[in-house]
Symmetry: C2
Subunit: 335 residues, 2 copies
């Protein structure tokens, strides 16, 4: 409880008249954590309570049975901490259990929640070869209770998930989404709040074309804890892994990564300076992700912007997987 | 022996008069592999032999004691295969042992050598946190007999190397090279040719600013087998791992990676189109490697080329390690 600066909290109590022992235990639990509780009991007066809770600073939160708390909560009230955790019993909770509802982002709420909500691990599962998952990623998988995984993940990596865990496929194959982005984020938050150890397993590295930002945003909004375990991107499997190194002394001092997908309206590549004035010097490598559907168009655009048809080029499918194919040639050969 | 199309080879024999049994065993071993040997014995006539071997196609290789073979070999003769391997005994060999010296890149030589030379594994050890090494990388370390490792590798990762293995530090810290690039490559080739299981452990991903190209070139020149296990680049640890995602739907469709190190002569950044015309659209992220020594200069150059002082910028040290530091701010704040 060292992160909580405020050693006294004000709680409003409602609907717990039938459970004086539970209330007393909870207040005692707080005291054993070094936190004093000042409480005020409301009886059958939800409306007055909520107005006071929402509008002024007098209360830090509510102590009420879960059954009562689910509906009509003021908007700035944070989700609950089940009180059993305070008394060191275990989840799950039932509707009749007392729980504390704190004001949003209340420091004590975050601390209490950290007792039972484990950080969701966003894991980069690597490019397909299960050997290219990180040690930390495998470790997280082996101890998870829920795993939401994508299409690009190797089957043998899924074998690391315990048999008792819930493994949910939420993959997207271009065009076919088994589950919307918003739905995935909400599912993750749902399982996390239940106090389960959740892994969100993504292909490659989740920060590169992995839509990690959208999922993490939801966690930030709910102040839910998470950690990210980076992975080997398919970028690296397709280059380093196939002997095409992105940097090379005296030849390449960098590289660029792009996707032609989801360009704004126009089917042209954006008029990006990275394509310009390349005739005057050896160009740095450019790697395109998710480019197969528009490859002809892409090559035309590159040539229009001055990349030579004789420039080395390669197409890589399924990097690092058993179906890996690498076709090396010249830009002009690609159709 | 299925990769060898030629089922008959022509060997010249020299200096093995005292070892008729050894010669007979070797020829028998070839036959058991489905390869017929036609041989011609030369006595005390090295010069004539070498001329005929070097100049014409009559012989595929030489069978001679190692002691004899080390000096004055014609230039197009490949290194040896110790004949014990044919007879299924073990390395190491001593100077009195018969060995076969093949013409360079002879297919049978490569096949025979593959019996005793294991692929050297070039392993991306990840950005520093040992948990970010791949499963395959750790596996290679655990079974190696020799490991050449860099400065950027985590100590606890080195603990995976067996106590019986030789672990050689060949690191470079900017300016201080404990071992030249050429020396590293030659050392790797040396241990590999001894039939040892060699791991070349590099920080991050070896294909990104890892000088992998130079080391692999040596292996290509000697036709020595190798495999590359990509790793989590510090690029990903510094971005995905710290919550700064390189791509984001509707915001960033790609990114560029560069280093200001080793620019040709001028201390200016190369006049690269990636810096130009950024005022007109939200710029893609640019990540600079090895930039700390020239950071003031770098920021000046970026601003000169149109990047705004108000643009978000961050500096990351020791990504993923216990000494990780992240400073977030604006381009204009960086000095």
């Amino acid at each position: 409880m060292t992160t909580n600066k405020k050693r006294t909290i004000r709680l409003a109590l409602l609907g717990l008249e039938q459970k004086p022992d539970a209330v007393s235990n909870i207040l005692q639990s707080f005291r054993s954590l070094g936190v004093d509780v000042v409480n005020e009991v409301f009886q059958n007066d939800n409306e007055n309570l909520f107005v006071r809770l929402d509008g002024e600073d007098r209360f830090d939160g509510l102590l009420l049975p879960l059954a009562l708390g689910i509906e009509n909560l003021p908007t700035d009230i944070e989700w609950f901490v089940p009180c059993q955790r305070l008394e060191e019993t275990l989840l799950p909770v039932d509707d009749d259990t007392p729980a504390i509802f704190f004001k949003k982002d209340h420091q004590l709420f975050l601390t209490l929640r950290s007792f039972y909500v484990a950080s969701v691990a966003f894991v980069g599962g690597g490019p397909g070869d299960p050997g290219l998952c990180t040690v930390a990623g495998c470790e997280a998988l082996r101890h998870c209770e829920v795993c939401l995984y994508d299409a690009l993940v190797a089957d043998s990596l899924l074998a690391e998930i315990p048999a008792t865990a819930k493994a949910l496929y939420v993959g997207k194959r271009s065009g076919h989404h088994s589950c919307g982005q918003r739905e995935i984020s909400e599912k993750l938050a749902y399982y996390s709040r239940q106090g389960l150890r959740v892994v969100r397993l993504k292909g490659g590295d989740p920060g590169i074309f992995g839509r990690l930002a959208e999922e993490v945003e939801t966690f930030d909004r709910y102040s839910l804890p998470y950690r990210v375990i980076p992975g080997v991107s398919s970028l690296l499997a397709a280059t380093t892994g196939t002997g095409m190194f992105l940097t090379r002394r005296h030849i390449s001092r960098g590289f660029t990564v792009l996707t032609p997908r989801h360009a704004q309206k126009s089917s042209e590549l954006e008029p990006d300076p990275v394509y310009g004035s390349y005739l005057k010097r050896p160009p740095r490598p450019v790697v395109f992700f998710m480019a197969m559907a528009r490859i002809g168009e892409l090559v035309e655009n590159l040539k229009k912007r001055g990349r030579l048809a004789t420039e080395p080029a390669a197409v890589v499918w399924g990097a690092s997987t058993s179906s890996q194919e690498v076709v090396r040639g010249r830009l002009g050969d690609i159709e």
